[in-house]
Symmetry: C2
Subunit: 425 residues, 2 copies
């Protein structure tokens, strides 16, 4: 590494880290992008891999491949273990990486609200491995139900519980209901997959709290019509191997419990020695830099920053990308001596709207004062997600896949892989 | 299960087992198809998953989905553990399945020629999990080479050794050479993937012994032109963690050793108590039934049967499918009292030719006396494989993928998944 050039280190190749590398235009600096995975993941479609709609490579792209023409960007596959802020170094097993500027874009992890022991019984959905595990497990339990002689066991195997009524939970519950009622319906001989019981649990009074009450109600109605058992206002008291206990005293027996209830910042933030909020997010300055560290920035799900209404900017990909562009501009200006740390402009969030898909031709979207639901919202969702999927190949493959699924009700990725598949269970 | 109808049990949903279920036309019998996996695998393209050209679901299809309209076929996901030939039962953990006719289509496994301890150091390629493991490992070693400061270590990480010069070995070596020289070449900053060293080792005097000498030489020349280091007439003496020792005294240091040298019949054949050949294949009667068991048949890679030249029928998918059709006809005729076990016709193999692909626009094909190589052989290979890929969706996705790869030299499935990925190694 040439030490005479300024070194910018970016941690995390999610939407934020990648957008930074793509928009950072200073040719006099070296950028090193570090990630634990070799691929960038299109998180908004991860639920489609978990529900066998898309294959893993369709929503993931090698980071190096995306950035191959950015000659001043080096990509490294590394597990970051800590920081030495005084020496300006990022640490990992067997080495350290010096920086002049550090951009933290590490994203979030699944949070079990102080119950880490629930993780083994209720899988979260943050990585491709998570999605492949959920896909394998759901498909396997239908296979086991076909093999089972006991009605109680069949019922337990064919019950799917999704905890959390945010966009991910709603999308998963809708996709599982479609998988059972349409995709699998004619494939089994001894069970009827349409009798699968999909339950969506939300502790708050309504689904999708970030949408208007009218759209929340629409979403609940659309899910109910698809056969999803929507239960709001009940929280989870306990989770064990194959069961849940709810706040209203109900006990649910289920071989498929999915946790979509909580997200926290990557726990590496705890090693920074700065003030964090309850979800582990860094309380950044208005310009997104860390208190007393104008050379360090936190962006995306990692950063706690307020919008113009003094509400926290949500952990969505457009926000992460906007923050990335903001930081890229600040570092560029810094390096060119255009502004000092005191004159840096504050970050301003531009809310482009929110959408969540529920199923085939069913979605909700809220863009400013515009509120859409049903078919129109679904088509908008489809087009916008396709537009933002990185790389021609993925777009074409996903479009083909979706068109095919729409007309045939089939899904192409119903494959169980992984050594932990154990069919004698 | 209605016991008054004849029960046909088929073990294995490869080309043989599936072709049997699709062609067995007796509506008065129940067929149960048992497999350890939930998917049928298009084995001839498995090397493309291992080399990041195709995604796993593109070459795999759920068995139940393929057979959903065969109402007399039940598909079961089970690990078969043994047989009780006297009671006519197939055994598995926790149960047994009675049969009137049994069709064994269990296929082959990787064989290490009496050195099972080599398996941990040199992965074979028979399942999707094998292919995903090889893909993850190759991509990871390039990442580690980019991170490494030692030239010796870089060289070891970027050396790929393929053992076995049959079609699978040739296809793998060619695809790895292309991956390094074309796909990855611009993605790294500290290493040049074009300096990867792909070595193909064959113990016999020439590659592809099932082809003519002329085509073997063509294949070797095409591989050499692509940068593959082809070594014939040397065998493997020893394999350990990251190294091989050859019969000519050479020691190769390599982080990527792939074993494509041997195939044996599924070891379940050993539990049948009948005569087997050295590769574990069942020495069947000319009608493919087992000696003294006219109700049991072995087909595909499991069966040792001679062709008209008194040479063993090769372990290729067309042979397995022809055997399946033969057995389906025999059981049909038996059930309708058309022929007794003594009057059954013998199986006749129709050799449709053999082909192997080497790389982009390079292949060899031998169809009767016709011998093709280069571009024409490659296009034939492409069309024939596409024609036989099961299911519209896979065909369209694979065609799209191939067209895209051909024109851009990119590969879409360069994704490392799996919990055993350890990037600090």
């Amino acid at each position: 590494m040439k030490k005479n050039r300024p070194q910018v280190v970016v941690l995390g190749a999610g939407f934020g880290g990648l957008a930074f590398c793509q928009s950072f235009s200073c040719h006099d600096a070296d950028v090193t992008l570090v990630d634990r995975q070799n691929h960038h993941l299109f998180q908004p479609l991860l639920y489609q891999v978990a529900t066998a709609g898309l294959s893993a490579p369709e929503i993931a792209q090698p980071i190096r491949s995306i950035l191959r023409d950015k000659r001043n960007v080096t990509v490294l596959l590394r597990d970051v273990t800590g920081f030495d802020l005084a020496r300006r170094e990022v640490q990992f097993a067997g080495g350290a990486l010096p920086y002049d500027y550090l951009v933290l874009a590490l994203g979030g992890v699944t949070s079990y609200f102080g119950h880490p022991e629930w993780e083994q019984f209720a899988h979260g959905l943050k990585s491709l491995d998570d999605a492949l595990r959920i896909r394998g497990q759901i498909l396997l339990t239908f296979e086991l139900a076909e093999n089972s002689a006991s009605e109680t066991e069949k019922k337990r195997l064919m019950t799917i519980v999704v905890v959390g009524g945010g966009p991910t939970g709603v999308e998963l519950a809708g996709a599982f209901a479609e998988l059972a009622t349409h995709v699998l319906k004619r494939d089994f001989r001894r069970i009827d997959p349409r009798q699968a019981h999909v339950i969506l649990i939300e502790a708050g009074p309504r689904l999708l709290p970030q949408f208007s009450e009218r759209l929340s109600a629409k979403a609940a109605a659309q899910l109910t019509k698809m056969g999803v058992d929507v239960r709001t206002g009940v929280s989870v008291k306990n989770i064990g191997e194959g069961f849940l206990e709810l706040s209203d005293g109900t006990r649910l027996e289920s071989a498929n419990i999915i946790w979509a209830a909580g997200v926290a910042a990557n726990p590496l933030t705890q090693k920074l020695g700065v003030a964090l909020d309850r979800a582990g997010r860094v309380k950044v300055n208005p310009d997104l830099s860390l208190p007393e560290h104008p050379e360090i920035f936190a962006i995306g799900d990692l950063a706690l920053v307020m919008d113009e209404h003094n509400k926290p900017v949500p952990g969505v990909s457009p926000a992460a990308m906007q923050m990335a562009h903001h930081v890229a501009r600040i570092i560029h200006d810094d390096l060119h001596g255009l502004t000092g740390p005191k004159a840096r402009p504050p970050f301003k969030y531009w809310d482009k709207g929110t959408m969540a898909t529920i199923g085939r031709a069913a979605a909700v979207a809220q863009i400013g004062r515009l509120q859409l639901s049903g078919w129109l919202a679904w088509v908008s969702w489809l087009l916008i997600h396709l537009l933002f999927l990185i790389g021609f190949r993925n777009k074409a493959a996903v479009l083909l896949q979706w068109t095919y699924s729409y007309f045939t009700y089939k899904r192409g990725s119903r494959i169980i892989t992984g050594a932990d598949r154990n069919c004698s269970r």
